[in-house]
């Protein structure tokens, strides 16, 4: 779909649509960033806006918190390593062996991520707290003393992060494995090398660059992780940068400037990581994204495949079934324990939850926002994807950077900038659902654009060019050829955006107002302000909504291949 056809002087409708949508994206992304930077460099009286003086004092103040930086590093590295191990093992099992039920497992592998990591954190908190955790209670009932595990430690936090946010690693490594030419390995085996030797000398080196890329990407994600550290780390005063920022903002008086400086530092690091990631991915001569998709050689592992099947089931149990079961178990008790007495059971929590106005309105708001975000998002991001990857309008490369920018900024930090940006906006947006809508559309830009672009790029350019050669104008061929072919992909993107917005936490928690409560931050508020049993109930209700949407999405995307993860 080239625009090599605009006569000099006349601006094509494509250009108008393209640049229009690019301007919208630029405003959405850059406007809050400006405010974030302004706050970070503001060294005057925090109560007075606009800032009276600028300086780097806030960044110097960061040196007062070396422990937080160290914590962030420890947790992120540990989580990345665990996620890579899990991802690699799972990817290997599902892509290279003949374990039964492969296709189903592949789809199920991303479920933990779509079930909010928050939920995983809540459940594992109930499972692994040293005193009240169910696992520890069972452990003590078996006669041991003390506790088997303490989930409120850095490694506990990393473990939960890896379990729930590690699906990214799996998706990326699986993609790398699928794009490897099996004949490379066959050549090794034909010469007589054993399977193990082949794996070590041929497969591993080929896969390593892609795994490295995944490692960098996952590390960047872990740096920006919020929910798990909030639930599991805060009680023990174990802060990482994101939770520290949250605490600083919530304190009285709020230390906004230091928080902003922290946020800016974090996003500088993440930006760097993502830059490195892109370099790794585009530099290699192993085409992972473009090029043919191979059918990797599936090894017959004989009896071992039942063991591997068990391994996959173990992962799903630990990451999906166990947490949900735990929450269910807790939600039907008055005071949640591992071995409840008969009179400890109650359905009160459910009735209480559903009767709470706050809960009902939060759920309603979340659903409405989900619909709005998904619908508007699909159109906006569809146009952006077309603009960046298909049109040949000048400057489209720059727009790609702008659109992918939110990837490098943790949601919480972005929301922080948005808070200030839209507070001073003349039209009343602050405190309303509109603010949340704008926030969601902004932070989901990378996810939506990437998903739709992925589908778009699968459609051969020649299909559109052919329509052009048959005489069809841009509007006509978009309507008759491009859009119908994109529909399944657009549908998948719609569902993805819906789920992402219902489970969103980092941005929502800062931007909610009295009339615009949404469900996931409400669960956090419940955690900090009510009994944990009630929180478990709320989490379950939210899970059911997300699960319903997920099932629909799985049915739709079964034809399209693996689900994307952001």
């Amino acid at each position: 779909m080239s625009v090599a056809g605009a006569s000099a002087g006349r601006v094509s409708p494509q250009a108008i649509a393209g640049y229009g949508v690019a301007a919208v994206a630029a405003v959405l992304v850059l406007y809050p960033v400006f405010y974030l930077l302004q706050a970070a460099f503001d060294v005057g009286d925090p109560q007075i806006r606009p800032p009276t003086s600028y300086g780097v004092d806030n960044f110097e103040a960061l040196f007062n918190y070396p422990q937080i930086m160290l914590n962030t590093l420890v947790v992120s590295v540990a989580a990345t390593v665990m996620a890579l191990v899990i991802g690699f093992v799972m990817a290997w099992i599902l892509a290279r062996t003949n374990v039964p039920g492969r296709r189903a497992f592949e789809q199920l592998m991303v479920v933990p991520y779509y079930l909010t990591p928050l939920l995983g954190a809540l459940a594992w908190s109930m499972l692994g707290s040293p005193e009240s955790g169910f696992i520890n209670q069972v452990w003590r009932a078996l006669g041991a003393t003390g506790s088997l595990m303490d989930i409120n430690t850095p490694y506990g936090i990393a473990w939960v992060m890896a379990l729930f946010e590690g699906s990214v690693a799996f998706v990326m490594i699986a993609a790398v494995m699928k794009s490897m030419d099996p004949s490379l390995e066959e050549a090794s085996q034909v010469i007589g090398a054993s399977r193990l030797r082949t794996m070590l000398r041929i497969t591993l080196p080929l896969v390593v660059p892609g795994v490295l890329g995944a490692a960098v990407f996952v590390f960047a994600e872990m740096l920006g992780s919020f929910a798990v550290a909030l639930v599991l780390g805060t009680p023990n005063r174990y802060y990482v940068i994101t939770t520290a920022i949250y605490q600083l903002i919530q304190q009285y008086p709020p230390r906004v400037q230091v928080a902003a400086a922290m946020g800016v530092s974090l996003f500088a690091v993440m930006f760097l990581m993502l830059f490195v990631y892109r370099r790794i991915i585009t530099a290699g001569s192993y085409a992972t994204i473009t090029g043919k998709a191979f059918r990797p050689r599936v090894a017959d592992v004989g009896r071992l495949r039942y063991v591997l099947f068990g391994l996959c089931m173990l992962y799903l149990t630990v990451a999906v079934f166990l947490p949900i079961a735990t929450l269910l178990y807790a939600s039907v008790q008055k005071i949640a324990v591992a071995f409840p007495a008969a009179d400890n059971f109650t359905l009160n929590n459910f009735t209480a939850a559903m009767s709470m106005n706050a809960v009902r309105s939060a759920l309603t708001n979340s659903l409405i926002l989900g619909f709005a975000t998904a619908t508007i998002g699909v159109v906006l991001m569809g146009l952006l994807a077309w603009l960046i990857y298909r049109s040949k309008l000048p400057g489209s490369g720059l727009i790609e950077y702008v659109v992918m920018f939110p990837q490098a900024v943790p949601r919480l930090v972005f929301a922080f900038g948005m808070m200030w940006a839209w507070l001073v906006f003349p039209i009343l947006i602050y405190g309303t659902m509109w603010l949340l809508l704008i926030a969601y559309l902004t932070v989901f830009l990378p996810l939506g654009v990437r998903t739709i672009a992925g589908v778009m790029l699968q459609i051969d350019k020649s299909l559109e060019e052919c329509a052009q050669m048959c005489g069809a104008s841009w509007a006509y061929r978009t309507r008759t050829v491009s859009v119908p072919l994109l529909v399944p992909g657009l549908l998948a993107a719609w569902l993805l955006l819906f789920i992402a917005s219902v489970r969103e936490l980092g941005a929502s928690i800062l931007l909610m107002g009295p009339h615009s409560k949404v469900i996931t931050p409400s669960i956090v508020e419940s955690w900090f302000g009510t009994a944990s049993e009630l929180t478990a109930t709320l989490a379950l209700i939210q899970t059911m909504v997300v699960a319903a949407a997920m099932i629909v999405m799985m049915m739709v995307t079964r034809r399209l291949g693996a689900l994307p993860v952001d």
Binding site: S2, A4, A6, A8, Q468, M469, C470, A472
Partner: protein, 367 residues
């Protein structure tokens, strides 16, 4: 006898196209007359597809001019660049570009619908077109359920159903297997003749080009090497590249022996002292010459031939049996020559033989 005046239908003048920052087409000029099939031939990367797409309007050139029926559709100097959908051309793509979400009928009908034809006309023309490509019984089939060859026919029908004056072909047969390719070649040629459409055809397949074209443009590295009829390209290559690309040939280098010129032939003396007579065909004659001898024109016989201008003793190095013909590697002086012979009785390696070649088949190459 009717004399049809062949006027230029498409003219390409000093076309330059960049692929990103890489120059893919570096000053290409040719013209296509009404009703002829012109083929752009060359190895991959030579810029032939890019040139075709520039004519179509799918690539934006850097410089030059493209005119259709005398009217510029692209001109760098005049700042004209008419969008592809308005140039009135039609194209068959290498990947067929069949739309999977439509039926065969709908695929073919697309161009007519764009032109707002009414239902009756659409039905009529589509059926006619499908008939021509023998795909009538697939009319209501989902287009994605067809085989490669079937898709190709549908793509073809779709391309000419709205009676364009020009058809552009981008390697349309390269995805088909050899047998099907051979059949489709003939069909395409017949169709083109029947409809009288001007065609620009891109291929890297020599046989295809020679079989189907009225004229061929041989391209290399973004530039034109030679333009001419298949006979001319084959029989009178102007450069070493063309000589070797369009059928295999032996290149013989040597000194010009003006003193041995006779009967309009020119003589070349190889470094090892052999003299070979060839024809200049109007090319400039210098002191150092290169001559091309096609492998199929070298004759081998065990006995010394009588009355031949070009006849030398030589030795067989090896023979490779290839079915319809045999490739024979011969040592001639200190140069290895390759001959291709049909119905050849095998000779052992080391056998002494004689080789002859008609001087008219020894072609002087241009500078």
């Amino acid at each position: 006898m009717q004399v049809t005046i062949k006027t230029p239908h498409i003219e390409v003048e000093r076309l330059e196209v960049n692929f990103g920052s890489v120059p893919a087409v570096r000053g290409v000029s040719f013209s296509v007359v009404h009703g002829e099939q012109l083929t752009l031939l060359g190895p991959s990367g030579c810029g032939k597809t890019t040139t075709l797409r520039a004519i179509a309007g799918l690539e934006r050139p850097r410089a030059g001019e493209i005119r259709i029926d005398g009217k510029p559709v692209y001109s760098a100097d005049k700042g004209i660049d008419i969008p592809a959908e308005k140039r009135g051309l039609s194209m068959v793509f290498q990947s067929y570009a069949i739309w999977p979400h439509m039926t065969v009928f709908e695929n073919v009908a697309y161009g007519l619908r764009v032109r707002r034809a009414d239902t009756a006309e659409v039905k009529d023309k589509v059926e006619h077109a499908l008939n021509l490509v023998q795909m009538s019984r697939f009319a209501d089939r989902r287009a994605s359920a067809l085989s490669g060859g079937q898709q190709q026919r549908v793509a073809l029908a779709r391309a000419f159903v709205f009676q364009p004056s020009v058809l552009l072909f981008d390697e349309p047969l390269s995805n088909l297997d050899a047998k099907l390719r051979a059949d489709m070649r003939i069909e395409l040629r017949e169709l083109q003749h029947r409809l009288g459409i001007t065609s620009v055809y891109v291929t890297h397949d020599l046989e295809e080009a020679l079989a189907m074209s009225d004229r061929i443009v041989v391209m290399r590295d973004g530039m034109v090497e030679q333009t001419g009829t298949p006979d001319e390209i084959y029989g009178l290559p102007c450069s070493a590249f063309v000589a070797d690309f369009v059928g295999a040939s032996n290149l013989i280098r040597g000194r010009h022996r003006r003193d041995l010129a006779a009967d309009g032939l020119i003589a070349l003396e190889t470094p090892s002292g052999q003299v070979i007579f060839g024809t200049a065909y109007g090319r400039p004659v210098g002191d150092e010459l290169i001559m091309s001898v096609r492998t199929v024109h070298l004759q081998i016989s065990p006995l010394r031939p009588i009355g031949e201008r070009n006849a030398w003793p030589a030795r067989v190095e090896k023979t490779v049996f290839q079915g319809d013909f045999t490739t024979v590697h011969i040592l001639w002086g200190d140069q290895s020559l390759i001959a291709r012979c049909a119905a050849f009785d095998p000779l052992p390696a080391g056998q002494e033989v004689f080789i002859t070649v008609d001087p008219k088949r020894v072609v002087l190459l241009g500078a």
